[in-house]
């Protein structure tokens, strides 16, 4: 299965708002730094992601894109999907 949570690490500034926003608490800070020296978040369990998009919505740097498997679990934001 391809990823629900797609992260563009070069755009990330390590602010941590996605970590705070994740209702499943599966986004955590990693030990890795990106090329700008920012500490990056990582998703600890892709399979547990519910594609709610909260992390992407709060990300000021458009570093996260969210996907949902066709016919996958609907979330309250799914009406915004598929644009």
């Amino acid at each position: 299965m391809s990823k629900r949570w797609v992260f563009d690490e070069d755009r990330c500034k390590g602010c941590g708002l996605c970590v705070q926003a994740c209702p499943e608490e599966i986004i955590l800070f990693s030990d890795r730094l990106n090329r700008s020296g920012y500490r990056m978040p990582e998703i600890t369990a892709q399979d547990d992601c519910i594609s709610c998009g909260f992390c992407a919505r709060v990300c000021p740097d458009v570093a996260i894109e969210i996907y949902r498997p066709d016919g996958g679990r609907k979330t309250e934001n799914s009406r915004d999907g598929g644009r």
Partner: protein, 248 residues
């Protein structure tokens, strides 16, 4: 896989100059999403103001003019009066709009200028290093109010939406907040309405977005959003102040 959330087409690939956690980036993305949703990329003309958002023109895939400090509504007026079929929006901070540009915003609103204003209120001058803004809260420390804003000395902060809501030319006025995902969704809806108001020729539309400034507030990004929620929303109540049709 279906996309739930992708980078809007109307944003360039340029990584913004904003500090980590600054919600300017969120507001940019919401404006770009609305431009995409309403298919405005060929008609939109933005006006960047002076302050942190001065480089807005680097981040949107639409025509832009950079304006002198506070003058964005006058510049927008000039553009809109030349090309009434274009969709003209300004993107202004609180120093720009509520202080040096107070006359321009009031009179653009008074004329019912058919433009859309995206107003970022983060209660401080960000670009110049954290000086007191007209929107700085009472007691809030800033580099030019080191003991906290004293209302006896500097007055009390301006509530822009409430002030403009008395003007008959105003068609849409809303205050939203970017402090959490739910607030961001609501902000998107309001920005969408503010652009739709212009498309419908209803008149002046403004969305005030309560935002953060972790750097100059001396807070972490997470703490700063908590501060928006706890302090700013209390003084600057959220909601719609005018909707098209009701001000006639």
């Amino acid at each position: 896989m279906k996309a739930v959330y992708e980078k809007p087409k109307s944003l360039t690939d340029v990584v913004t100059h904003y500090c980590p956690g600054c919600t300017h980036g969120v507001a940019h993305r919401l404006v770009a999403e609305v431009i995409d949703d309403l298919k405005l990329e060929d008609r939109a003309v933005g006006i960047a103001s002076v302050g942190c958002s001065v480089f807005a023109y680097d981040y949107f895939e639409v025509d832009f003019q950079q304006a002198a400090h506070g003058r964005a509504p006058a510049v927008a007026t000039g553009i809109k009066r030349v090309h009434p079929d274009s969709v003209v929006f300004t993107y202004q901070g609180d120093g720009d709009l509520a202080s040096i540009g107070a006359a321009e915003i009031v009179h653009a609103a008074m004329r019912g200028e058919n433009i859309t204003v995206v107003f970022i209120n983060n209660a401080i001058y960000g670009m110049t290093g954290g000086q007191m803004a007209p929107t700085t809260l009472v007691g809030q420390k800033a580099s030019t109010s080191p003991a906290g804003r004293d209302p006896d000395h500097s007055g009390s902060p301006i509530r822009v939406c409430e002030m403009l809501s008395t003007l008959p030319g105003v068609a849409y006025l809303a205050r939203v907040s970017c402090h959490d995902a739910r607030g961001i969704m609501s902000a998107k809806r309001s920005i969408g309405k503010a652009f739709q108001t212009q498309l419908d020729g209803e008149g002046f539309a403004l969305v005030e977005i309560l935002s953060n400034c972790p750097t100059n507030w001396g807070m972490s990004p997470v703490e700063s959003l908590e501060w928006v929620k706890e302090h700013m929303v209390r003084y600057y109540p959220l909601g719609e102040f005018c909707t098209p049709g009701e001000g006639e």
